[in-house]
């Protein structure tokens, strides 16, 4: 059985999948990956189903020793992944061998990386999900962030016959910038804001403050003015809800958000662009662009279809016979047969 031993935990490392649904009416946060595009693609690259759990890492990556062979893929933020101190490709399958150590350098771009492991992580599903919800002490590994010394089991590889090394075609690899525009749909409480307030929201650049975590992103910048007040009778909150409390600065509600809240929500970030928010770091800049719901749904369909396209192209690359050349080499009077493969 293969395991991953955490030698150093990194800044904030948890096990996450696509999230825990069906319990929001009971006050359970959904949790799940902050950048679901990277999570899904990392899984596709190792032959997992899209929604399998990955290790989510934040800015400073962990140091992980593999006990046993495994096929992994690292996607999302470029935190300079290395195996045994040698840089490895991101957005690509990578073979790791028994005893190999995966570590990370400094953050080059983005905020959160995802480590997918072929066959998946062997932790129990709690309420239908492997996602760690730290505040509720559920899911992932003992319901908490990973610590040095933790040993996480990998599911037996018999269930996964995906062995090839496949790189994601470059056109699908996202760029993480310091200046970002995310698309939002107005509402549900846009009518609580003055016309000026709404204009301010769409014409300003906001800075990501230091108060960012898996629950939400607090932004600073031009104040958004309410008509009368910022308080409403508590109602539902969804991923990407942009809350504006009385102080006038927006907060984007993310994976570990509470399910309900009593502040006005001016707009909601569309699903594909939430992945951009999940890659923002303190000091980055963000602005908002309004689109209507019809357009948002058109974009959503294209976004979801892209996963099928990616899966198909990965499957094609996987089935392409890799040309191998065989050589005979003599070293120290011993003859070795060596096969050299060109990896695409």
């Amino acid at each position: 059985m293969t395991t991953m031993k955490i030698l150093k935990p990194g800044m904030y490392t948890t096990i996450q999948d696509v999230g825990r649904y069906n319990y929001q009416k009971s006050g359970m946060s959904v949790a799940g990956a902050m950048d679901q595009f990277s999570l899904r693609v990392a899984n596709i690259l190792v032959g997992n189903s899209d929604g399998e759990a990955c290790v989510e890492i934040t800015i400073m990556g962990p140091k992980i020793k593999f006990n046993g062979d495994a096929l992994i893929a690292v996607a999302g933020a470029n935190l300079q992944p290395m195996i045994n101190n040698e840089a490895i490709n991101m957005w690509s399958g990578v073979k790791v061998l028994d005893g190999d150590v995966l570590s990370f350098g400094t953050a080059k771009s983005g905020c959160r990386g995802y480590i997918a492991i072929a066959s998946g992580i062997d932790v129990p599903e709690v309420m239908g999900s492997k996602s760690t919800y730290v505040k509720g002490k559920v899911g992932g590994f003992e319901g908490r962030i990973l610590r040095a010394g933790d040993e996480i089991k990998i599911r037996s590889s018999e269930e996964n016959n995906f062995t090839g090394i496949v790189k994601l075609p470059t056109e699908f690899i996202p760029m993480y910038n310091k200046d970002n525009t995310v698309r939002v749909v107005l509402g549900p409480q846009d009518d609580y804001f003055t016309e000026n307030g709404v204009n301010t929201f769409f014409s300003s650049h906001y800075e990501v403050t230091n108060e960012v975590d898996r629950m939400g992103y607090r932004l600073s910048g031009s104040k958004i003015t309410h008509k009368t007040g910022a308080d409403i009778i508590s109602d539902g909150i969804t991923m990407g809800s942009v809350q504006v409390p009385g102080h006038g600065s927006p907060i984007i509600m993310m994976a570990d958000r509470q399910t309900t809240g009593g502040y006005t929500k001016i707009a909601t970030v569309i699903t594909p662009d939430i992945n951009i928010v999940g890659q923002l770091k303190p000091g980055d800049s963000i602005s908002f662009k309004s689109i209507n719901i019809e357009e948002a749904h058109k974009i959503y369909r294209k976004y979801m279809n892209d996963f099928d396209v990616i899966r198909e192209s990965v499957a094609k690359l996987q089935s392409t016979p890799i040309s191998a050349k065989k050589f005979k080499v003599r070293v120290n009077d011993k003859e070795y047969e060596v096969s050299v493969q060109e990896i695409k």
Binding site: K25, S26, G187, I233
Partner: protein
């Protein structure tokens, strides 16, 4: 209650169905009915719902259902809701040990209202409180209907750790802490009943739209229930709500 129900967009995967902008039992009852009716209908494409004081958030999958279609179906359900047979609301009994180390602020609440602690207990445990919604933390009930005679301001300095099961008062609200968390409520008692247990078949005990009633117990009974809960053997007392 609004004359016409509002359908509000909350991004590309959520719809808010809003019945009003006040806290009223009548509105909340309508939300409970709509939640149950939607569940009963089993509409493909609806992932889950979040019922709150005066609205219902419907989380949907746009690949499976168009927004217009979803709104049409919700409207159809709303019109025929009166004829649908929906289960009556329930009353869940919450055995509570009042005062002492379990409810260190009960004297304050009594003094603040110029009544005895026994009267605080009597008033607090004589009402069936409507669970308007569950939110804030897993399993936290927002309750309505507390008597003003036991109202008390929040603590000036919130406690950093409030034990699981603590029963408190903040202003004219009462509530129970399902997980250990910081908070500024005046604590008057504690229940050994687990409102939240992620490893139980039904992880959260309470549902919006039902009622709870606090029932005073002594320390012996508290320990007994606590032990049964630990073994997963405690059966909560639930009865039907009498119709008015």
């Amino acid at each position: 209650m609004y004359e016409k129900t509002k359908y509000l967009t909350a991004g590309d995967r959520a719809l808010v169905i809003e019945f009003g902008d006040t806290i009223e039992e009548q509105i909340n009852a309508k939300i409970r009915s709509l939640t149950l009716a939607i569940e009963k209908e089993g509409i493909i494409g609806i992932i889950e719902t979040i019922p709150t004081y005066r609205s219902l958030m419907v989380i949907y999958e746009p690949l499976l259902i168009e927004l217009d279609e979803l709104i049409d179906k919700a409207k159809a359900i709303e019109t025929k809701m009166g004829e649908m047979k929906l289960p009556d609301a329930k009353v869940i009994e919450i055995p509570t040990l009042y005062g002492g180390e379990y409810g260190p602020d009960i004297e304050f609440v009594a003094e603040h209202n110029k009544i005895s602690t026994d009267e605080v207990i009597k008033i607090h445990s004589s009402t069936e409180y409507l669970i308007y919604m569950i939110g804030f933390t897993p399993g936290f009930p927002y309750l309505g209907g507390m008597n003003d005679k036991i109202a008390a301001p929040r603590l000036a300095a919130p406690r950093t750790k409030i034990p699981v099961g603590s029963v408190g008062i903040a202003g004219t609200q009462t509530g129970i802490y399902p997980i250990e968390s910081p908070g500024g409520w005046q604590l008057i008692g504690r229940t050994p009943v687990k409102l939240y247990d992620p490893y139980r078949k039904d992880p959260v005990l309470l549902n919006a739209g039902d009622y709870i009633k606090f029932v005073q117990i002594d320390e012996k009974e508290y320990k007994k229930i606590e032990e049964l809960e630990r073994e997963g053997k405690y059966k909560v007392i639930i009865r039907g709500k009498e119709r008015r």
